[in-house]
């Protein structure tokens, strides 16, 4: 087995590309990222490791713009992310220049996934060690979309998804609690999902909301704290409601 895991361009006898799978491991070690699609709002929420006191937190934005109507968050190797993001941003403008229309979310996702795939089929390179969550509104129809790509170069559309640390538990939570939401409800669902695996508090989460009219809006720490507080009270109320009938019986 060890013989088949060095070079990316070599299949193992049982059909694995080990470098790609190791890249997925790198993603699993990255910070948690959640994306939720609503009817008129799409939300990205990313776990923020505690910032060292001397670090300027504004220089480590984890949710970035690819164009006015498309945003991206990722989990995995941040340096690799920078390269992919730059190429995607150039492609967005190049497309606009040749086709005279903004890119669709599906197009730029396909482009990023295509780039990731290319690096799994060439000599002397390694795959990008990150999975991305791409959100945006279609410039023609205005429908919201959420896509995910991974190091193997596959991509698909999602109603809600998570990647990075503990993404399985977040996805389980989303599967249990997802319903079509809009506006503030979508935002709360995303934050609730992330809070399943992340310590509560505005300084541990980075949240951005995209709407058709206002584009991408990064939330301030205070705003996040307020919503987290709202979620906590709702949770406490739900717990109390559950406990109340049983106490009456005894």
């Amino acid at each position: 087995m060890a013989r088949y895991d060095r070079a990316i361009t070599v299949f193992s006898p049982d059909g694995h590309l080990f470098q790609v799978e190791y890249a997925l491991e790198a993603v699993r070690k990255g910070n948690a990222a959640v994306g939720v699609r609503g009817t008129d709002t799409i939300v990205l929420a990313v776990e923020k490791k505690s910032t060292p006191k001397l670090q300027d937190s504004r220089s480590v934005r984890k949710i970035v713009n690819l164009d006015d109507h498309i945003a991206l968050a990722c989990a995995g190797l941040k340096a690799d992310a920078r390269v992919l993001i730059n190429r995607a941003r150039i492609e967005c403008q190049s497309y606009k220049l040749t086709i005279e229309d903004p890119v669709t979310v599906e197009y730029i996702t396909r482009y990023i996934a295509g780039l990731q795939q290319k690096y799994t089929q060439s000599g002397g390179v390694r795959p990008f060690g990150l999975s991305t969550l791409i959100i945006g509104f279609d410039p023609h129809t205005g429908t919201p979309s959420l896509y995910q790509t991974d190091p193997s170069g596959t991509f698909s559309a999602w109603k809600a998804n998570a990647t990075g640390r503990n993404s399985n538990s977040i996805r389980e939570f989303l599967e249990k609690n997802y319903k079509e939401t809009s506006g503030q409800e979508t935002l709360k669902l995303a934050i609730r999902a992330l809070l399943e695996v992340v310590e509560s508090g505005g300084k541990n989460i980075e949240v951005a909301v995209m709407t058709k009219e206002h584009g991408l809006k990064q939330l301030e720490e205070a705003e996040i704290d307020a919503i987290v507080a709202e979620i906590e009270t709702e949770k406490a109320a739900a717990e109390a409601a559950k406990k109340a009938p049983s106490t009456r019986e005894t």
Binding site: E91, T98, D101, E106, Y107, Y111, L115
Partner: protein
């Protein structure tokens, strides 16, 4: 040795960046070596000059309230020799887009066909039709990359997309203009005269077709390099439709029928005395 860049003939690759070293031979574009003359610039100039007179044609297109009207003649001339009276100068790129031919016939036919392929590939990849703006830009980018190499193309791309009727003029210098009225070719001054004086945005389809037909006819009357058949096409929301193809000789007698004149001196049979 220089090589011509044929990347315009690529199937639409998802990655557009050329600086990617990973492509290597996989996406290598077909190319052939250029002639090894002493004076390549002179050779280029001579090649361009050889093709230049061939923009002997009249084509026109205009946008009106019901879409785009496209019309052209059908004469091909080589200097003073009329090589064909039945050339199809309106090229069907796809069911909702037309291109006109002026300049080198082979150049126009080939690159329009190539554009049709690229439009279809765009549709398949993106699940939506390409806009007229996008298609015309693809063509003009390709023509720009061959700038100075002797291509002779003066074309109009007419179509109907989500934004409504679209009309662009694209030429082999690499120029691209968006507009509502264009005429291209040696007969265009004559066509413009008729077209500009008769044009109104709110023409009906029949009126617009008649205007286009008359403009082509008048151009063929005065311009020796235009003639044959005046074809008229209409591009509407459901695609293009050929409306008519009338021989310009017959059109002449339709517009200017021969009046029977009174005879001044009649020749009568003189009976043999």
């Amino acid at each position: 040795m220089m090589k011509i860049d044929f990347s315009g003939l690529d199937p639409a690759a998802p990655i557009k960046g050329r600086t990617d070293e990973l492509c290597g031979d996989i996406l290598a574009t077909p190319s052939f070596a250029l002639p090894t003359t002493h004076d390549f610039d002179g050779f280029q100039k001579a090649a361009v000059q050889m093709v230049k007179p061939a923009k002997g044609t009249t084509t026109l297109a205009f946008i009106f309230k019901d879409g785009v009207m496209v019309a052209a003649d059908s004469r091909a001339s080589m200097g003073g020799y009329i090589s064909s009276q039945s050339v199809k100068k309106i090229i069907e790129i796809n069911p909702y887009m037309l291109g006109t031919m002026a300049g080198g016939a082979a150049d126009c036919q080939f690159w329009h066909r190539n554009l049709g392929i690229k439009c279809r590939l765009h549709e398949l990849a993106n699940k939506r039709r390409i806009s007229v703006a996008g298609a015309s830009k693809m063509l003009s980018n390709i023509l720009y990359s061959y700038r100075g190499m002797g291509l002779s193309v003066g074309t109009m791309i007419a179509g109907w997309d989500e934004k409504g009727p679209g009309l662009y003029y694209v030429d082999s210098e690499g120029g691209r203009l968006k507009g509502t009225r264009f005429s291209v070719g040696s007969g265009s001054p004559y066509a413009y005269g008729v077209l500009d004086s008769g044009y109104r945005f709110d023409l009906s389809v029949e009126e617009a077709a008649e205007l286009a037909r008359r403009a082509i006819y008048h151009a063929t009357f005065r311009d020796g390099a235009s003639g044959g058949v005046a074809s008229v096409y209409h591009v509407g929301p459901n695609g293009w439709k050929k409306l008519s193809g009338d021989d310009v000789g017959e059109l002449h007698y339709m517009y200017y029928p021969v009046e029977p004149t009174s005879v001044e001196q009649e020749m009568t049979e003189v009976s043999v005395a």
